[in-house]
């Protein structure tokens, strides 16, 4: 025991691989050693530098700029003379008191939650369905990925075209079976439903792929044991598949949440957030304020953008909380 201790003390090596005689005799080698250590440190920093520069230039600075923009009264003139008075929370007050705030908040919540519930439920159902290997399963599963592969612009335009009140195929179908036509994109009651349908359709493949890979990680023995115990397929799903899929489900939902909160293109192409404000979410509202109307209101637009970030952050925290509670339970 003593012997090993001694050897280990003698054989202490520093980072550069140099054998240090012993801890007590450190002083003569000090300058050399510290220089080496410094160089090692610098090398480490050189490796970190690219990612730090990247993070600062592409994440920290834009975020800081957006915060700065939202606390100032930025007009087009500010770009010329560089003056933008600091107005504290005026932009936030203006945004929150705006008549668009409540509808936009409700629309954002409805759009996000309904999208996620349906995307997840349908994605999971399809994943379980395709997990039962049958002829053509792989081909069919690949076909379900199509929405994911299409550019959003294409998907949204085609949905807008299909849901057109006058010439859309959906209304033609409804009329063929004797129903009255629905003003999918142009009535306040249906506009949100229409963009939701398109967004759910686009989000299903993502859920399908991740949940399918999650299913592959559940050991087959568990299912065998369940089968031996005489569990019905319904029981197998609720007692085995669903609980064991929980970690994968959580990450799928979180990613879906972040993705759905910021959805802009689908809504903008299909309804422009309209009619009126009936499908305006925070993302649409921010764009409208900044670039949509005739007068660019950059600072309120930045304020709305920041509220959206805060919203995503709050959802993130709620997710982590629930996650911890589930782990403890």
């Amino acid at each position: 025991m003593t012997a090993t201790q001694t050897t280990s003390r003698v054989a202490v090596r520093d980072d550069a691989g140099e054998v240090a005689p012993s801890i007590g005799a450190i002083s003569p080698a000090r300058p050399l050693r510290s220089r080496r250590r410094l160089r090692a440190q610098l090398t480490a920093w050189a490796f970190i530098a690219p990612v730090v520069v990247y993070l600062v230039v592409f994440y920290a600075y834009p975020l800081y700029r957006n915060l700065d923009l939202s606390f100032r009264d930025y007009t087009l003139r500010s770009f010329i003379d560089g003056t933008a008075p600091f107005v504290w929370f005026d932009n936030y007050v203006e945004v929150i008191q705006s008549s668009t705030f409540t509808p936009a908040l409700i629309n954002t919540a409805v759009f996000t939650l309904v999208s996620i519930v349906f995307q997840f439920a349908i994605g999971l159902a399809l994943a379980v369905f395709f997990f039962k290997r049958f002829p053509l399963a792989a081909t069919l599963r690949a076909l379900f990925l199509v929405p994911w592969l299409l550019p959003l612009l294409v998907s949204a335009s085609i949905w807008a075209w299909m849901l057109n009140s006058e010439s859309g195929i959906v209304n033609a179908g409804l009329e063929a079976v004797g129903l009255t036509q629905v003003n999918w994109l142009t009535s306040p009651q249906w506009a949100m439903v229409s963009v939701l349908i398109a967004n759910i359709w686009i989000g299903i493949p993502f859920n399908l792929v991740i949940l399918y890979s999650g299913l592959q990680n559940i050991p087959g023995e568990v299912y065998e044991a369940a089968a031996l115990d005489g569990a019905s397929s319904w029981q197998t799903f609720w007692r085995i598949t669903f609980p064991l899929l929980r970690p994968v489900s959580a990450i799928t939902i979180l990613l879906g949440l972040v993705y759905t909160l910021k959805v802009f293109d689908i809504i903008w192409i299909m309804t422009r957030g309209g009619p009126g404000n009936s499908s305006t979410t925070f993302a649409i509202w921010s764009y409208r304020l900044g670039f949509g109307g005739g007068s660019p209101e950059l600072s309120p637009a930045a304020a709305v953008g920041n509220l959206l970030i805060v919203l995503a952050f709050v959802f993130g925290l709620i997710y982590i909380r629930t996650q911890r509670r589930l782990e403890r339970a």
Binding site: L38, L76, D81, S165, G294
Partner: protein, 408 residues
């Protein structure tokens, strides 16, 4: 430990300096471009017109005349206001700007006036020029103008027994639409989309009813919006107008099912080909409603080197005088001479030249930058009324309140 800490601080310092240096060089590279060179930049919203197009050739001809080179630059995003403001330190010599945006850029101090750049605007038609006029100062000249009219399909009208001469005011137009719909065809298509395009299309009816943009909730404004709302509710116009752009509205008209379409002079050749004709949009009690003008202004943004203005003004002169620029872009020329030349070349342009003469810029009446705010509220009110979210009166009252609040 102490050494490690010092090294870490040192490393962080190097990175900070590096980032700062990168940021600084990033700034300094812009800013130095325009010297006393003979190369002039033109921000051109028509990048799709290649070097072989008549538009590019018109620009090249001007460059050759002035013995300079003109570099066409489409900007970054195609949104001139956004691009110009973000490029504030390094503006192009000449920029083409959509006419309702001229006042916004002028207000931001980005554009020179004709006093600064010495450009003579006396022969430009006054009604077209007024979009660039704020408080008596002129910030640019139109390259040309277009406007809206009422296209009609003679076959559909004939089958329904409607004489186009009977369409003289809102009531007779509505009566004609009812006859057409009764004959099994469709009435009228237009664009009431929730963007500037929606306001553009609504304005002839709004102005034609005698309403004023400074008072969105007037009885006249309400009667104009009521007209559109009734058309929709009575099936005389399709519900799709709420999301139609002018392009999709035109596609509907081209199906041959519709009797009327409100659309722009830019579809003239397509209409000629299909045998469709056009009349000016009537006023509420007869006469002709003023339609808004469309089209870009050629502006000279502020430069550090003011000696460049002289040549820039010559470029603007070259592109706006006569009819080369306007004809190349499919506009009605902004000068009487240019219009005469266009008419001589193609007599079928007479209708649209007359329509442009009766038209009125959106930012006229010295509305200037207020127009953007008002327009946003106006198209929102149109959307709310047509979709049934609010009655025309309520929608307009809300719009007026919101606009007044923003313009305070």
């Amino acid at each position: 430990m102490a050494i490690q800490h010092r090294a870490r601080v040192f490393g962080a310092a190097i990175i900070t300096v590096g980032v700062a240096a990168a940021a600084l060089t990033g700034c300094s590279t812009s800013g130095e471009s325009s010297s006393a060179s003979t190369e002039f930049t033109l921000w051109d919203p028509y990048p799709d017109r290649d070097a072989e197009s008549t538009w590019a050739k018109a620009i090249d001809a001007c460059a050759a005349d002035l013995d300079i080179t003109i570099e066409r630059n489409a900007g970054n995003t195609g949104d001139t206001v956004k691009d110009l403001t973000t490029a504030a330190g390094n503006l192009p010599d000449v920029a083409m700007v959509d006419n309702p945006k001229v006042s916004t850029l002028a207000d931001a101090g980005l554009l020179t006036t004709t006093d600064d750049n010495g450009f003579d605007v006396s022969n430009i038609e006054a009604n077209i020029l007024s979009a660039g006029e704020i408080d008596g100062k002129v910030y640019g000249v139109p390259v040309g103008a277009n406007t809206l009219g009422l296209y009609y399909n003679p076959t559909v009208l004939e089958a329904a027994g409607v004489d186009i001469a009977s369409v003289t005011d809102y009531a007779s137009l509505t009566a004609a639409l009812e006859k057409v719909v009764a004959s099994g065809k469709k009435g009228i298509t237009f664009s009431a989309v929730g963007t500037e395009e929606g306001s553009f299309q609504f304005l002839p009816w709004f102005w034609g009813a005698g309403a004023d943009l400074t008072e969105l909730d007037s009885a006249q404004a309400e009667s104009a919006l009521q007209l559109w709302t009734d058309w929709l509710n009575n099936g005389l116009a399709p519900n799709s107008v709420i999301s139609n752009t002018q392009g999709t509205s035109w596609d509907e008209f081209m199906t041959g099912e519709y009797a009327f379409a409100e659309n722009g002079s830019w579809f003239k050749s397509a209409a000629d080909e299909a045998g469709y004709l056009s009349v000016q949009i009537p006023g509420i009690d007869g006469g002709v409603a003023p339609a808004p003008t469309g089209g870009e202004f050629i502006t000279i943004p502020v430069q550090k080197d003011t000696s460049r203005y002289e040549t820039s003004a010559a470029i603007v002169e070259c592109l706006s005088s006569g009819d080369t620029g306007a004809t190349a872009l499919g506009y009605v020329a902004p000068t009487a001479d240019g219009q005469a030349a266009q008419l001589a070349a193609d007599s079928s342009l007479e209708f649209w030249i007359g329509a442009v003469g009766d038209a009125k810029p959106r930012t006229a009446d010295n509305l200037g930058i207020s127009y953007g705010v008002i327009s946003e509220q106006l198209y929102t009110a149109v959307q709310n009324a047509l979709s049934g979210a609010a009655s025309p009166a309520d929608a307009l009252a809300e719009a007026q309140a919101a606009a007044a609040d923003k313009l305070k």
